[in-house]
């Protein structure tokens, strides 16, 4: 059994600091208005030229460029108002411990005569607020529709209204638990696990549960359902920092799989304004390009867009060394790819019985 890391913030603390942050912004604008000045926000620029790779943090971050969004400027007044409304609305969500989806936000705005033209516009304002506050939208109780799952021996304590103090163990339900708002805001209490396995596909997630991978490998299993959503990455991050668990990742044997692993490890350019979503120590177990030959996996040929993607990623600073660089090169050489299910050729349990232990062994040396 492991105790919570003392350095990590509890959900309550995070909530309070966010509230203070929101109130600070509110006070700033309030006093500007009271002085007869046009209020303004400083919004970090999210343009490509302002996204830089930070080697120390091992993730993409925003540079120093910020733009002023002023209520004086007619072309900005509307989006300024949208931004302050969103801060106001998020504050209410946080205070009342309610959650909402991106789509909810779009509709809620209409009750306040805030005219978002469409959901992309409101989504964009949400990202602006994330950047202003340097906090992910999940902290603001705003969640996307996409959800992924988690299974394993992990006890959590809910903080959502009506469930406060209630505990659940995430191995109680064999389909796994949705990584939703209540799970994201829950306190992580206890676990016997020693490892987190993130897996790209729901099918394999179910197989792993059936094969009792959680017990055999003392693992918490997370289904990322493709590219891991923010809430999933946030959970992985917390499992790593709060519970001290190493994170390993299993993906399809192709360039997209490799990048799914990379995003969990070091974030995406899209979320360069956020710093709490990465697990820099996470390890990619496979399927590597080299595994395809080694395990004689059935393959399918790469498409042109697969190959183009390899060339793109080769320019990314994170792919300049180690297995990341090497595997890209091998993919490019063999121009073939293999899915996780390919192991089924050797029996349904081949992947858990043979491949996983071998790769976990290798991972220790990575």
């Amino acid at each position: 059994m492991k105790n919570k890391s003392k350095a990590s913030k509890t959900s309550e603390e995070r909530r309070e600091s966010l509230s203070r942050l929101l109130q600070e912004q509110g006070l700033k604008i309030y006093s500007e208005l009271d002085r007869g000045e046009f209020p303004k926000f400083s919004v970090p620029s999210r343009s490509v030229s302002n996204i830089v790779y930070d080697k120390k943090l091992r993730q993409y971050i925003l540079g120093n460029t910020a733009s002023i969004r002023s209520a004086r400027n007619m072309s900005q007044l509307r989006s300024f108002t949208q931004l302050i409304w969103l801060a106001f609305f998020a504050n209410k969500l946080v205070q009342e411990k309610k959650s909402s989806t991106l789509r909810d936000i779009y509709y809620s705005s209409q009750a306040f005569s805030i005219d978002f033209e469409d959901q992309p516009e409101s989504d964009n304002i949400i990202v602006d607020l994330e950047a202003v506050l340097a906090r992910p939208r999940e902290d603001l109780h705003i969640f996307p529709e996409e959800r992924s799952s988690v299974f394993g021996d992990l006890t959590i304590e809910y903080t959502v209204p009506g469930y406060e103090g209630k505990r659940t163990n995430l191995s109680d339900h064999p389909d796994g638990y949705l990584i939703g708002p209540s799970l994201s805001s829950a306190e992580l209490v206890d676990t016997s696990a020693e490892l987190v396995i993130a897996i790209e596909k729901g099918g394999l997630f179910t197989r792993f549960v059936e094969e009792k991978v959680d017990k055999k490998f003392k693992a918490i299993i997370v289904d990322t359902a493709g590219q891991a959503p923010r809430s999933t990455r946030y959970l992985l991050k917390r499992l790593h920092t709060e519970m001290g668990l190493p994170v390993v990742i299993l993906t399809d044997g192709d360039v997209y799989g490799e990048h799914i692993a990379m995003v969990i490890k070091s974030g995406s350019a899209n979320a360069a304004h956020l710093r709490e979503l990465t697990v820099p120590d996470a390890k990619w177990l496979g399927v590597w390009a080299t595994d395809i030959e080694k395990y004689k996996l059935p393959t399918i040929p790469m498409t042109e867009s697969d190959i183009k993607r390899i060339y793109d990623l080769q320019k990314d600073p994170r792919y300049q060394e180690g297995i990341w660089k090497k595997e890209l090169e091998v993919f490019l050489k063999i121009k073939r790819k293999a899915e996780l299910e390919a192991f089924s050729k050797y029996g349904l349990t081949n992947i858990t019985d043979k491949y996983l232990p071998e790769k976990l062994e290798i991972a220790k040396s990575l």
């Binding site: 006070l27 208005l33 007044l77």
Partner: protein, 611 residues
């Protein structure tokens, strides 16, 4: 003798036009109805213009039988309040072809007054009904005629003539003709509408066969100044025109026949007396200043021939060879050719040479052209490197070309005298457009007179934007000598100029509701085709049109940017008053305050700054 003799028959003008009626726009019932309307309406307007009367023109087209399908007979009536036509001229004016009063050199709508007779002829051919003409020149008695044309003889046949008392002056013409109003209607309505636009000093009423009425009361009460007849402008005149002007300007040696001798005798006061040669010469030198040029030439010739009238009547002058100083005549009495020497010392020698060689270049320039005075003429001869005293009759072909080229190139001539033109004027154009379009913005310009090929022209243009103009993009109304041009606009020079302008430079969107009215006045409009519906792109005209449009577009741009600013300010105020209260509301809750910040003073301040 051949029994198969080919016969050559002279045909009358009526016959000619009857056979070639397509040329005059009477090719089919649709076109014919439209053309007939135009001819009568334009005649009515021209008549009023020339008499200085504010026109009141009534046009009506009625079907003879409403039930019948087009094409069918219509009664076309045009009534004006003009000077009317003298009773004795009416049969000739309406019953013959080529009888007209418009053979001058000044701006007028129609050219020769042919069109109206063509319409009458067409009506007679298609319906076999007479034209009905009612005219009153004094506003008291009115002459009413019913006329038919005798096509072969080009003579009027008076079917009916009566006189009755009336209270109004003016002319009314009614014809029966085959037409197709269902097809021609749109064009005719456009024509009436646009004619009203360009004739804002006229009241125009139109009742169509369907009972619909168009009525436009005159918008202005001043008439444009009537045009006068003038000399050509030197710019753009060509060699052939100069050659013709020269032939006109120098005298031929008069034929010395009995008639001429009679004239000489009369001018010298010798009606009864028979003087001998020296007595005649003595008398002539005494009266020299009082006698005409022709007579002076005859006297000069007589001085060399040394003959009296009796002898003079028996010869024929064949040649006057100034270069060799010889005069050659045929003596009928002796039946031989006689050559005598001309004494250059004689005082009459100069008179002869002047006559034959024509006037000096200097005099030719100042007398035959407008806008050339003595000083300009001297300056020009220096520019052209021609001697001012050079006699135009002695100029070689090369010198003529040089003269013609120089006339075009010399830049110190004043603009052509526009007094032969009758532009509408900026004020009436503006008022007309205001009334017609009720726009947000309106500007008109009349360019200075310019010339192409020696013909003066003036471009007037107006631009209207917004307001009640609802069209998408620009509508261009083209006029030439106050006639709307409705057909063939694709190839017209006005359209070309309008299409070439880059509206974005003037802050005007391509779909902006815009009306452009273009009016070209000239003694001769350079039409591209015989249809007279589109103006050719003469560079001089194109340039004037472009400058006019650019001027107007700049004015429009100023308006647009002012309006843009005003709209922006209004928008800004609206935005602030919409959003700032929301911002205040949200930040108050966010900050956990009870009372909203005092933002209202900010909105007020902002409003004051904008004012």
């Amino acid at each position: 003798m051949s029994s198969n003799k080919e016969s050559f028959n002279q045909i009358s003008p009526s016959e000619f036009f009857y056979r070639n009626r397509d040329l005059a726009g009477f090719s089919n019932p649709t076109r014919s109805l439209y053309t007939a309307v135009r001819e009568f309406v334009e005649n009515a307007l021209d008549a009023c213009d020339q008499a200085g009367i504010l026109p009141d023109v009534y046009l009506s087209i009625k079907a003879v039988d409403d039930e019948q399908a087009d094409p069918k007979p219509y009664i076309l009536t045009v009534k004006d309040n003009g000077p009317g036509i003298d009773s004795k001229h009416i049969p000739l004016a309406f019953g013959t072809v080529l009888y007209g009063s418009k053979f001058g050199l000044k701006q007028a709508r129609g050219m020769f007054g042919l069109g109206a007779t063509m319409a009458i002829l067409y009506g007679q051919i298609t319906t076999n009904k007479p034209v009905e003409v009612k005219s009153s020149t004094d506003g008291q008695s009115q002459d009413e005629y019913e006329l038919l044309l005798d096509i072969q003889k080009n003579k009027p046949i008076i079917v009916k003539h009566k006189t009755k008392e009336v209270s109004k002056r003016g002319l009314s013409v009614s014809i029966y003709l085959e037409g197709d109003y269902s097809k021609a209607g749109a064009k005719i309505r456009d024509y009436v509408y646009q004619t009203s636009l360009i004739t804002p000093y006229a009241t125009i009423t139109f009742e169509d066969p369907k009972g619909e009425k168009f009525h436009q009361t005159k918008i202005v009460k001043t008439m444009p100044l009537p045009p006068t007849i003038i000399r050509p402008h030197p710019h753009g005149i060509d060699v052939e025109t100069i050659r013709r002007m020269m032939v006109d300007s120098h005298f031929q040696i008069p034929t010395v026949d009995n008639k001429m001798i009679e004239k000489v005798r009369k001018e010298l006061g010798l009606k009864k007396k028979n003087l001998n040669y020296s007595e005649i010469m003595e008398k002539a030198s005494k009266r020299w200043n009082g006698i005409s040029r022709h007579v002076r030439v005859v006297i000069a010739v007589m001085s060399f021939l040394k003959m009296d009238f009796e002898k003079l009547s028996k010869i024929r002058i064949d040649d006057m060879d100034i270069a060799n100083k010889k005069l050659v005549y045929w003596d009928f009495g002796e039946s031989k050719s006689v050559s005598i020497d001309l004494d250059p010392e004689s005082e009459y020698y100069r008179q002869l040479t002047n006559t034959i060689q024509g006037e000096t270049l200097l005099s030719f320039l100042t007398k035959r052209f407008q806008r050339i005075g003595q000083a300009t003429a001297v300056k020009f001869t220096e520019f052209a490197n021609l001697k001012p005293e050079k006699r135009i009759g002695t100029m070689t072909n090369q010198e003529l070309v040089k003269l013609s080229d120089s006339l075009q190139k010399f830049e110190d001539f004043l603009s052509p005298d526009p007094s032969c033109l009758a532009p509408l004027g900026e004020e009436p154009l503006k008022k007309g457009m205001e009334q017609f379009f009720k726009p947000d913005f309106l500007e008109v310009v009349q360019r200075g007179a310019s010339a192409y090929s020696g013909f003066p022209f003036i471009v007037e243009m107006g631009i209207a934007y917004g307001g009640e103009i609802k069209s998408v993009g620009q509508t261009v109304y083209r006029f030439a000598n106050r006639i709307p041009l409705l057909y063939d606009e694709g190839s017209d020079v006005v359209l070309k100029v309008v299409n070439e302008i880059d509206w974005t430079r003037y802050k005007v969107k391509n779909d902006a509701p815009l009306v452009i009215v273009s009016h070209i006045c000239s003694t001769r409009i350079p039409y591209k085709t015989v249809g007279k519906e589109n103006v050719a792109d003469r560079p001089e005209i194109e340039r004037e049109l472009r400058l006019a449009l650019q001027f107007l577009a700049r004015k429009l741009a100023t308006f647009m940017s002012k309006r843009g600013q005003a709209e922006m300010e209004k928008k800004r105020a609206n935005l602030y008053s919409k959003y700032i209260p929301l911002v205040a509301q949200f930040c108050t809750e966010l900050a956990g305050k009870k009372k909203e910040p005092d933002y209202k003073k900010m909105l007020k301040m902002e409003a004051m700054v904008e004012e």
